[in-house]
């Protein structure tokens, strides 16, 4: 299945090419953890993860056309 990934702030550097907004192909049963592993984003980044704009954690199962948003914690606004 194909999912869409958006990387922001400090996590842009983990994009496989120049564009930090891209699609990746995953096997059925893939989770958020799979995406973090495929993109080699270490736990130390403490990435905030959203799936379709809602809170998600590593065990979150993904489905076709999901959008996964990843960004660094920000402390202020």
């Amino acid at each position: 299945m194909k999912v869409h990934v958006d990387l922001y702030v400090n996590l842009k550097k983990y994009a496989p090419a120049n564009d930090s907004s891209f699609e990746i192909q995953l096997a059925t049963g893939a989770t958020v953890k799979t995406v973090l592993e495929v993109l080699k984003i270490p736990a130390s980044e403490k990435a905030i993860v959203l799936v379709n704009g809602r809170n998600a954690d590593e065990s979150n199962l993904l489905k076709e056309k999901d959008t996964i948003t990843l960004y660094s914690p920000i402390s202020g606004g």
């Binding site: 400090n10 130390s44 403490k46 905030i48 959203l50 660094s72 202020g76 606004g77």
Partner: protein, 611 residues
């Protein structure tokens, strides 16, 4: 005293008398300083039913015991008064260097009373205060006034002053300190203007004495070290891009207020967020006193119709003068921000009021002949023009100067004013930030995000990420956060550092680091529970002021747009804010009646009975 300077400066503008008073050590202990000390004096001395722009109202500037110390972000002060915009209490927080200078001039607080016959400014030179004529400064903008006052007094003096907007009683006029830092909310600048006080200039070289300097330095290093560790892992977003980087979180959650909160995603967000600002206009990052973050932005729009230089925009301004009015032109919104700083206007209420006018225009309740020109969403030129007109109370700006609620009411549709208790919402749609929705409705000053900023957790992942759309879990969190925010504002610290590095990293946000710093600085030997209770006391004291001004549950409200109209699209599609359900539980936890009033038992427990 240690930490505190032990002195209050009382200035009566009506008779020109200036007195020094001793700070009561028990009051200092029970209310700490800043926001706490201010509400103590407001409750004791100001009739909550007075005319906010009349002689009876007072304007109180308060530092905290950590203001002017080496504590991380120990550079904040509060301006407290009865608001002419809302009729409620208001307290507005600011940083820069003025607060530390005020403290080092020898005072914990300034209480300004009465009204001068002719314009004056207050000059405090290392403990000696005098009123000086300001007729020649009346009409000047904030930058010109800062230049002129420093030339007349001491070039190293720091100023907090008003521009034309405050003089002309724009109901959301700000008090600008250090030129571009703002005590912005709910019209503190209009109160200063009504008193014919152009500003306050201070020069201070005294040292804030520490009860245990060695321990203080140790604690200072310990808590600064927490930020250093995080910075080692990579660029710190707030330092690199300023608060406008927050757009990433609001946009992706679908809560970035767009076109007067009609939706929560702005199609041009990438043109106005933090990274765009860094690339296009950033000159340098600028810290407030003793701040290791430096989220302030010195910027320059080098050419074009919006050419200019100054500070900002911050996140709230990117929302209010950007997405909320549909403006994706970063130069135009930055220019409107510069004008707000120079004229002395709150950027949030300025943008929110123009957004309200734009919606009235869109829906046909306001015409081109009312305004003098068309007012379509996204019109950067109109944004800049109306900002200038409002600050000067010229043309249609004279009507905008009364704020969004009066504007919308005048044209028959108060439902288009995005306010709670008359104060415009900050840049987070409460349909997708339910905890903040509850805070907007219950914050003593109206819809401020800085009285319990749940988006840290609901959107930004600090200290932990929680879901913004759930509501049943929020009331106990909001109570704890509101209390700890009160304490941060009392101590003289900045929320940005304190909530992440001076509180335990859970939703409990127990203020362990604030305890360590306060105890080393003051020697007060506070217990953690006592500090938490002080936060509760401050919040309840403010509530008591509101109660006496006639406020109750009816004003703990949000516009119907949030409670009855589901978000039309984006990640929060179909969601409304469950305010009523949350309020019931919130009042129970607070120990308030279901009318939203503190019970006798609660007031007794906090030592507020009889105040």
């Amino acid at each position: 005293m240690y930490g505190w300077m032990g002195k209050i400066l009382r200035v009566n503008l009506t008779n020109g008398k200036i007195n020094e008073e001793t700070l009561d050590p028990q009051v200092a202990r029970d209310f700490v300083g800043g926001r706490g000390l201010a509400i103590y004096y407001m409750l004791k001395e100001v009739d909550p039913n007075c005319d906010a722009l009349g002689n009876e109202n007072k304007l109180i500037m308060t530092a905290g015991p950590l203001t002017g110390t080496k504590a991380p972000t120990g550079g904040r002060y509060m301006v407290t008064t009865k608001s002419p915009l809302t009729g409620a209490i208001t307290c507005s927080n600011s940083g820069g260097n003025f607060p530390a200078e005020l403290k080092k001039s020898g005072f914990d607080a300034i209480i300004v009373e009465g009204r001068a016959a002719d314009p004056v400014y207050l000059w405090i030179n290392d403990g000696k205060a005098e009123l000086k004529p300001a007729g020649h400064l009346w009409g000047k903008d904030t930058h010109e006034t800062d230049d002129a006052i420093r030339a007349e007094t001491d070039n190293k003096a720091k100023t907090a002053l008003i521009g034309p907007a405050g003089e002309k009683l724009v109901l959301f006029a700000s008090i600008m300190n250090d030129r571009d830092r703002a005590a912005g909310r709910a019209g503190v600048g209009a109160v200063m203007g009504a008193k014919k006080l152009k500003g306050v200039a201070v020069r201070g070289t005294q040292k804030v004495s520490m009860a245990n300097e060695e321990q203080f330095n140790e604690m200072n290093q310990k808590y600064r070290g927490r930020l250093k560790e995080v910075k080692k892992a990579g660029p710190y977003p707030l330092t690199t891009h300023g608060t406008a980087i927050t757009v990433v979180a609001t946009q992706t959650h679908g809560v970035f207020p767009t076109r007067n909160f009609q939706t929560g995603q702005f199609e041009e967000w990438e043109a106005i967020y933090g990274e765009a600002l860094t690339e296009k206009y950033l000159v340098k990052a600028k810290p407030c006193f003793s701040c290791p973050i430096a989220c302030g932005r010195v910027t320059k729009v080098p050419d074009g119709p919006y050419k200019g230089e100054g500070e900002g925009p911050e996140y709230e301004t990117v929302y209010s003068l950007g997405s909320d009015v549909g403006v994706g032109d970063l130069a135009a919104l930055t220019k409107a921000n510069y004008l707000c700083n120079e004229l002395g206007l709150d950027t949030i209420s300025m943008g929110s009021t123009i957004a309200c006018a734009m919606e009235l225009y869109e829906k046909g309740h306001l015409s081109e002949s009312d305004i003098g020109f068309p007012l379509e969403w996204g019109d950067g030129e109109a944004l800049v023009k109306l900002t200038r007109q409002t600050g000067m109370r010229e043309g249609f700006g004279d009507i905008l100067a009364e704020g969004s609620l009066r504007l919308a009411t005048r044209y028959g549709h108060p439902e288009f004013a995005m306010v709670s208790k008359g104060l415009d919402l900050a840049g987070y749609d409460p349909r997708g930030t339910q905890g903040l929705g509850l805070n907007y409705a219950t914050s003593p000053i109206g819809a401020s995000h800085m009285r319990g900023d749940l988006p840290y957790s609901e959107l930004l992942g600090v200290p932990v990420k929680i879901d913004g759309q759930t509501w049943a879990d929020k009331p106990p969190i909001v109570v704890k956060w509101q209390n700890v925010f009160s304490l941060i504002d009392a101590a003289g610290l900045c929320v940005f550092f304190s909530i992440r590095y001076l509180c335990d990293p859970t939703l409990e946000v127990r203020p362990e680091g604030i305890l360590d710093l306060l105890n080393a600085a003051t020697g007060a030997d506070y217990a953690l529970e006592e500090l938490e209770k002080i936060g509760d006391r401050i919040l309840n004291a403010e509530r008591l002021f509101l109660q006496r001004a006639g406020f109750d549950r009816r004003q703990d409200s949000l516009p119907e747009r949030f409670t009855s109209t589901p978000m039309p699209d984006g990640p929060a599609k179909g969601v409304v804010c469950h305010l009523d359900e949350m309020l019931e539980q919130y009042y129970q936890i607070r120990g308030w009646s279901q009318d939203g009033l503190p019970t006798e038992e609660k007031l007794n427990d906090l030592g507020l009975a009889g105040m």
